[in-house]
């Protein structure tokens, strides 16, 4: 056994991980080689010295920050799950679409016939105006909370702001602008990534899609770049093609981002 091969095993011996025949061979070699014995002794001092080093503890705030983020994420995730997994309760044969059509046709015919003989009445309002007003107020409130949280100092509050924006039933331009600002300028990558997800809701607005492409051009985080490329592909947003093309040819770009850009171009090209 040559000395170099023996010495490569010194860290394993010191860590107590070398066992069986390998350990026997090493001990046999050390019995006859003073130079290797000396090195085991010297490195043993260093190895044990490392053990004596203090193992610093993180501050308790680290756990509470984690829990805050986890709960905000969990809240958003469960909300998304509820929307995805909602299935209407099973109904009797009467509520099957075909029977509903038959029934509606009969009622309509009866209504038309009856209508000829009855005095026309003023149509009742389609929905209760108070409920409509209340819904509008809740949406405005959510919008205000989302906007105010998105400007907060703390990253976890801004994350909650993104979650709130997801709960709005009517996409609002101010919120879309705040999310776009977060995607391009937020100091925290997590907030930027969540804002990208939340922007999917506003994708019908061509201006938002253009702004997403602009944001991709100035983005410095590879993760956010990949998320934006994926979203632009998912939306078949051809507005993103020039920026994605540039990224796919940029030799300084992150390799994963470049590959994602190349694959995105194929998909967007197919969407033409």
């Amino acid at each position: 056994m040559n000395c170099e091969r023996v010495r490569e095993q010194i860290p394993e011996v010191l860590a107590g991980r070398l066992e069986g025949a390998a350990r026997e061979r090493l001990i046999e070699h050390l019995d006859t080689c003073a130079a290797c014995r000396a090195q085991v002794a010297e490195l043993g001092v260093v190895w044990r010295g490392l053990e004596a080093m203090a193992q610093p503890e993180p501050s308790p705030a680290m756990k509470s920050r984690f829990l805050e983020t986890l709960h905000a994420y969990e809240e958003g995730f469960q909300e998304a799950q509820r929307r995805l997994t909602y299935t209407p309760p099973k109904r009797s044969w009467f509520w099957q679409p075909a029977w509903q059509v038959v029934f509606a046709t009969v009622v309509l015919a009866a209504g038309l016939a009856g209508g000829r003989y009855l005095m026309p009445h003023e149509a009742a309002p389609v929905s209760n105006p108070e409920i409509a007003q209340l819904k509008g107020q809740v949406d405005t409130l959510r919008q205000m909370v989302a906007l105010s949280l998105l400007q907060d100092q703390s990253a976890s509050s801004r994350l909650r702001g993104v979650t709130y924006s997801n709960q709005m039933t009517q996409p609002d331009r101010d919120v879309a602008q705040a999310l776009l600002h977060a995607v391009s300028h937020d100091s925290n990558v997590n907030v930027r990534l969540s804002a990208v997800d939340a922007l999917a809701k506003f994708a019908s607005d061509p201006e938002v899609r253009r702004a997403m492409a602009d944001s991709l051009a100035v983005q410095d985080s590879p993760l956010v770049q990949v998320a934006l490329i994926d979203l632009l592909v998912q939306l078949h947003a051809r507005e993103g093609v020039p920026v994605i093309l540039k990224l796919s040819q940029d030799k300084d770009a992150n390799e994963a981002v470049r590959q994602r850009a190349v694959s995105a171009l194929e998909k967007l090209g197919g969407a033409q």
Binding site: A15, L43, G49, K63, T69, Y73, F77, N190
Partner: protein
């Protein structure tokens, strides 16, 4: 329950279970970053970032692989992103003076403190790739197979790298005046 089983549940949607993995690994992860950055606040931020990415990219976890190795792969990417933005400063770690106390005589304690400071200096002065492999092996007690998976290299290469890193640490420590055996 094994880490891998917990992570499978997180992957399947029980995201709250991530707290179990945070409790098990956040300290070691914090120390890994602290050895690389010498900055407590930054290290705590990097730990948050790792667990957030684990949440966001939980579907990329392969159930048959070691969770620890995967977590450190994510951690390494987080660190590289961080180091790319801010050139990592290699200096004496701010916690270098925090030594473990014991019942030994005062003069022996003083000598051991001095040696520990020298060792900290020597470790902080190692090139980052050597410091990293040594921290993984010595402080995180990762198996060579796990280190190989994190660094995406062969197990044999890990073995050689850990040895060379330890030898260089020894050379620096003794050159600074550390007591030989």
């Amino acid at each position: 329950m094994e880490d891998e089983q917990v992570m499978q549940e997180v992957r399947a949607g029980s995201v709250g279970k991530l707290e179990v993995l945070f409790d098990r690994h956040s300290r070691a992860l914090f120390r890994y970053f602290l050895h690389l950055t010498s900055d407590r606040a930054a290290s705590e931020d990097l730990v948050q970032e790792v667990f957030f990415r684990i949440l966001k990219y939980r579907h990329t976890y392969q159930p048959e692989t070691s969770f620890r190795a995967w977590m450190y792969q994510v951690g390494r990417n987080v660190y590289l992103d961080h180091a790319g933005k801010r050139k990592a400063e290699v200096g004496l770690p701010e916690y270098a003076m925090e030594m473990t106390s014991s019942e030994m005589p005062a003069d022996r304690q003083v000598q051991q403190r001095q040696e520990a400071v020298l060792l900290h200096k020597a470790l902080a002065s190692l090139p980052p790739e050597k410091r990293e492999v040594l921290v993984m092996s010595r402080f995180l007690e990762l198996k060579y197979e796990e280190i190989a998976s994190v660094l995406k290299i062969e197990v044999g290469t890990v073995k050689v790298r850990v040895y060379r890193a330890l030898r260089e640490l020894g050379d620096r420590f003794y050159a600074m005046g550390g007591e030989r055996a």
